[in-house]
Every structure is written in C-alpha cells, then in structure tokens.
C-alpha cells in the first residue's frame, strides 16, 4: 500500500487478531482474525451488531483480556512495537501516556468511594513526574475542557449523572494528551441531546489535539455524524473498510448494504431488515460467515472463506463478489 504521506502514516495496525474464550461448552471465538489500520489524526469507526466481537477486539488491542480469554495469534502494531509481546511494565508505560481508553460501562467505571479528582490525578501521578498540586490543576483544566464545573472534582461518582460521568472519563483520558483514544460504545444509555454533545466532544479531540479517535458503536447514525473512515464487523471478522462517504453511498459488502438499509430514519418510508439471526461464536458458519443470511450467496460462499481484498485505495472488502 504505497502511501507515504504524513497523513496516512499508520498509527495502529491490527493483523488478524484472534481472541478466544474457553468455556464449558467449547471454544468461544469472539474475535477470529480481525485486521485493520488507522492513520494519524482521524476518527476511525468500528461498527457492528451485538455479538460481532467489536468490544472484545478493543480489549484485545489494550491487552485487557482476562482468563479464560486468551489471544492465540495476531499482532497489534502501535508505533512500531507489537503491544501483545512487550513486557508488562513497558506496556504500563504506554497505557494512558500514549493510548487512552473510554470504557463501555462508563456508568460504573468510576471508583464509587473516592472523589472524582483523586481518580483523575492517580493516573497522572503514576505516569508523570508531576507533583500532586500540578496534577490537581491539570485535572481541573481538563474538567473545563469537557465543560464540567470545577466543583465536580470534589464530588463523588454517585452524585453525577450518566452524561457527566462519561465526560469525567473523557477528561481523565485526555489529561496526558495521548495520541490515540479508543471509545467503546460512548453513547449507549445516554439521552439524544447528551449523545450529540459527547460525539461532538470526541470529534473536537481530533481537531484540537490531533489525536486519533477509534469509536466503537452499533449506532450507524453516530458513525455517520463524526467518522472519517469506518470498518464493518460481523461474526468476529472485519467485512469492509472504507471512507464514511464511500461506505454509506455505495456499500460493497451485502451485510453493510443490509445494515444501512435497516436503519429506521426520518423520512424513510420502507425499511428492510436482514432475515435470519446472528450466528453463535461457538461454531461460526462454514466459508463466509454471512452466507446463511446473504441474498447474493453463491456456492463458493458456503465453502471458502473470502480474504480481505483492497478493491481501491483505502477501500477493503472481504466478499467473493469482488474476489
């Protein structure tokens, strides 16, 4: 992929990452060979329905997988180093300094019995050489950054609303000015108006600090509003990658087409869903995993698994229609 310009120097590259969970009923292949590349200073979206493995993918990238989950194979190249192989303390050095994370359950990701301020400064103190006083000031300015009154610092998590907790976590994430932020389902369980505020806040991080923001969500409308490029995930694999405009205008993969046409939106008279049900990670369907629900399914689809192909610059799809 000959693209040397500064703009598309790759920030994070995931090469067929696999995350499996052993369970009593067999091997639970949540992420089964996902690959994608993100550039500097862009909002990269990962879309997919529940059970497609997008959150597990994020946990894999951040190496937060707990037993019985494990990573059999795959690489996560972040600024030249493979995060999966470096020792624990070196990884700790990277966490929060270069790579921050806004977790899915933001509502209970704050320690309930210590003040908000302390949860912000402990990350700063454990990484930087700052004094307690400087850390507290930085925390205060970060709260202003996400338009929260400074008094919030002295409050406890149970005194904050859902939207405010989400913003405290984003403030904590940007405190050390990391170059990459991964936000997992930042807008679920929030009201429409608050959602708009959070999404625009994430977008502003790209513009103001030149950060790369990876947004993981099942809400296609949210991606449409702020994303530069988008990857569609289904059954543990990445099906299609492209710029947001290309993917929405002419989706290539049948699943993406179905997904976009299934969104009930204002003014849309008729909405067609995708028949059938999501497959189970205990035994993914043979060949292309979407073939049982795919309107264009050919014989080859149920035997051979399609590989990811670059149909045009920065535009990938894994489907036999384009092989």
């Amino acid at each position: 992929m000959a693209c040397e310009s500064e703009r598309c120097m790759s920030m994070l590259e995931v090469q067929n990452l696999e995350v499996y969970y052993e369970s009593v009923w067999g091997n639970y292949k949540a992420v089964d060979g996902a690959s994608f590349k993100t550039h500097k200073n862009e909002v990269f979206s990962i879309a997919g329905e529940s059970g497609c493995g997008k959150s597990t993918l994020v946990d894999g990238i951040l190496r937060l997988i707990k037993p019985p989950g494990h990573i059999p194979s795959g690489k996560v190249i972040f600024e030249g180093t493979n995060l999966l192989k470096i020792p624990e303390d070196e990884l700790r050095g990277i966490r929060w300094v270069k790579m921050a994370y806004v977790p899915q359950g933001a509502m209970n990701s704050l320690n309930p019995i210590i003040r908000v301020e302390e949860q912000m400064t402990d990350a700063i103190l454990d990484h930087g050489s700052m004094s307690k006083e400087e850390a507290r000031e930085l925390a205060g300015s970060m709260l202003k950054e996400v338009s929260l009154p400074v008094e919030v610092a002295r409050m406890y998590p149970h005194e904050l609303s859902g939207g405010m907790k989400q913003r405290v976590i984003i403030a904590t994430a940007i405190a050390l000015k990391p170059i990459l932020i991964i936000a997992d389902e930042p807008t679920t369980a929030l009201d429409v108006v608050v959602q708009k505020g959070i999404l625009q806040l994430l977008e502003s991080l790209k513009e103001k600090y030149g950060m790369t923001v990876i947004v993981v969500s099942h809400d296609m409308a949210a991606h449409a509003q702020i994303a530069d490029r988008i990857a569609i995930m289904y059954a543990g694999k990445v099906m299609e990658i492209g710029s947001i405009y290309d993917v929405f205008e002419q989706p290539l993969h049948p699943y993406t087409k179905g997904l976009i046409s299934a969104i009930p939106a204002i003014g849309k008279k008729y909405v067609k869903g995708i028949p059938g049900l999501a497959p189970s990670p205990l035994n993914w369907p043979q060949g292309c995993r979407f073939h049982p629900r795919c309107p264009h399914a050919m014989d080859i689809c149920s035997e051979v698994e399609p590989t990811m192909k670059e149909v045009s610059p920065e535009r990938h799809v894994a489907c036999h229609l384009y092989q």
Binding site: S109, E118, D122, D126
Partner: protein
C-alpha cells in the same frame, strides 16, 4: 418538616433502631426468665433468708428487696420496676453465689477479662483476615493461593470451642507448651508486676488462639470472595487501563471497597463470636463473664444470670451502634444519602 442533612438522618435512624432493639432484647430476656416453671423467684428470695446470719436484719433487708423489685406484685409492675432500677440506678439485684455483693459488682470484676479476650481476638482475626483475603483474592490465579484457600475454606466454620479442645489436647496436654486452665497461675500475685502480666499472656494464649484461628480463616474466605467480585468490577478494569501501579490499585481500589461490606459483616458477627467465646471461657475456666454465666445456673443465681445476659446484649448492641457510626467515614455514599 425541618430539613435535616442526610448524615443526621442516618445517625438518628441508627440510634432509634438501637434503642428499640435494646428494649426488645431486655424484654425478651426478662420474659424468658419468667417462663421458668415453678416460680423460682420466690424460692430465690427464701434462699436469701437462709444465708443471712441474723434473721432479724435479713427480714427487713428481704422485705426492702421485695418492695424494690415488686416481687409480690404482678409481673407487669415487676417488669417496670426492674427496668427502672436497671436504667436509672444500674442496680441488677443481689447475687446469691457471692452474697451480699450486688450483681453489677460481680459482673464488673470479670467483665474486663471477657472484653479483653474478645476485643483482641476479633480485631486481630478481622484485620489479618481481610489483608490476607485481599491478597489471596488478588493472586487467585496462582496454584499456591488456591491450595491454601481450600484448606482455609474447610476450616473456616469450625466452632471455637472444638478448636479449643483440640488445642488443649495438642498444645497443653500433648506438648505441655501452654497452660490449659485459668487466666494466670495461682503462684503469681495480681497487680501490674511483669510476672503477673507474663502469666496472663501465657494463660491467655490458648483461648485467644482457639478464637482467632477459625474466625481469621472465616474472614479470609469471605474477603477472598469479595475481592474477586470487586476485581470483576468495571472500575478495576478502568484502573488497569489507566496503567496504575499495582500497589495503588490494591490499596485505593480493592481494599477501600472491601471495608464497608466487611465492617457490616464484623458488626453482625459479634453476636456469633460472643456465643463461641463464652463456651471457650468455660472450657478454659477463664474468669470471664461466660464462665460466670454458666456457673450462675449451677447456683440457681437468676439475678446474676439475668444481669450477665443484659450486659452481654448491651455491649454487643453498643459495639454495633459504634460500627454504624463508622460507616459514613468509610463510604461517602452513606454520608450523602440525604442529598
């Protein structure tokens, strides 16, 4: 309605529940004692007459005693009189076993021994149990910690008095390392001299050990389970993602969140610990309130028995109340309930 801050509401509610429970407990004990068939109380008074040397003095004394506790009137006035004596003048009546000393004096003599033994054992087993439990929970993946854990798991519910007999058999009779009886050897004169203190420690070692061993394991097991649930919480995952140092995570995130539930657990377990400790005192003939209570039945000394039960209830419930006041310090959510 006057607006009172959340914290005050919390305190008010706790004090109210405390007084109601205390009152209910006393009533329960009073009536249970009155259920004894054959109206032992009048026989108790006649025994007083036999003990007195000079019949004349004893007759006035006994009439005065009857009037004070209304023994001739119906049960209900007896109850009212008894409670007023108890709460207003802290007078629990006369003990037969050590006639004529009043019950409260007898109790005060042996209460320090019980409180001393109990307080030390409970605090040691609770604090070490929590730290060890948190550590084992933190390292629950390692083979060693899970092996240690299964032993602890098994032993954690054995009653103290069975452990006491076991320890007496092995350490006292078997190896003769520690004395298996009394609180200090008769050859030592009680007082603040080192010999006495050393003897108290040597004698107190086995009773304390029999209480500490099982309750420590009990706290270890419950804390480990609690630690593992906390480790599964989202805020722990977020702390790890923040790349915090291990010590800070264990200290500020795991231990801090352990304190409240285990503090509640400690308050509730007090009643259970006291039960076991009294029997342990009896086995070691340790001069605490427990032995006194059990012997008081042998001498049909109802007043003493009733007095000891009241004092036990009072101490356990008061300890609970004090624990309730500690919660807001541990967990801010309790403090800002009202907001």
């Amino acid at each position: 309605m006057v607006k009172i801050s959340g914290f005050a509401i919390f305190i008010l509610k706790k004090v109210l529940i405390y007084t109601v429970t205390l009152f209910l407990a006393f009533t329960l004990v009073f009536w249970v004692l009155r259920l004894i068939p054959g109206d032992p109380w009048s026989r108790f008074v006649d025994n007083l007459r036999i003990l007195a040397i000079d019949p004349q003095i004893s007759r006035e004394f006994i009439e005065g005693y009857k009037r004070k506790f209304g023994l001739d009137k119906d049960i209900f006035t007896q109850y009212i009189l008894y409670l007023s004596n108890l709460f207003l003048r802290f007078d629990l009546g006369i003990s037969i076993a050590s006639y004529p000393t009043p019950v409260q004096v007898v109790i005060m003599r042996s209460l320090p021994w019980s409180i001393g033994l109990l307080a030390i054992c409970v605090l040691i087993s609770w604090s070490i149990g929590i730290v060890a439990g948190a550590f084992i929970g933190w390292k629950h993946r390692s083979k060693l910690s899970s092996a240690m854990f299964t032993i602890a798991l098994g032993m954690s519910q054995i009653p103290y008095f069975i452990m006491a007999i076991l320890l007496i058999m092995i350490l006292a009779y078997g190896f003769g390392l520690f004395p298996g009886r009394w609180a200090f050897s008769p050859s030592v004169t009680p007082g603040l001299n080192p010999a006495f203190i050393l003897s108290v420690i040597r004698h107190g070692f086995l009773p304390a050990l029999s209480i500490v061993v099982t309750s420590f394991l009990g706290w270890l097991v419950s804390t480990r389970a609690l630690t593992m649930t906390i480790l599964g919480e989202d805020y722990l995952l977020f702390a790890e993602a923040k790349g915090l140092k291990k010590i800070r995570m264990l200290n500020r995130y795991v231990l801090r969140n352990l304190l409240l539930p285990q503090a509640t657990g400690l308050a509730i377990s007090l009643g259970y610990v006291v039960n076991g400790a009294y029997v342990v005192e009896y086995i070691f003939q340790y001069p605490g309130v427990g032995t006194l209570l059990i012997h008081s039945f042998r001498f049909l000394d109802y007043n003493l028995a009733q007095g000891i039960i009241f004092v036990t209830m009072f101490t356990v419930l008061t300890a609970n109340l004090i624990m309730d006041f500690l919660y807001p310090l541990i967990d801010p959510r309790v403090r800002t309930q009202g907001k």
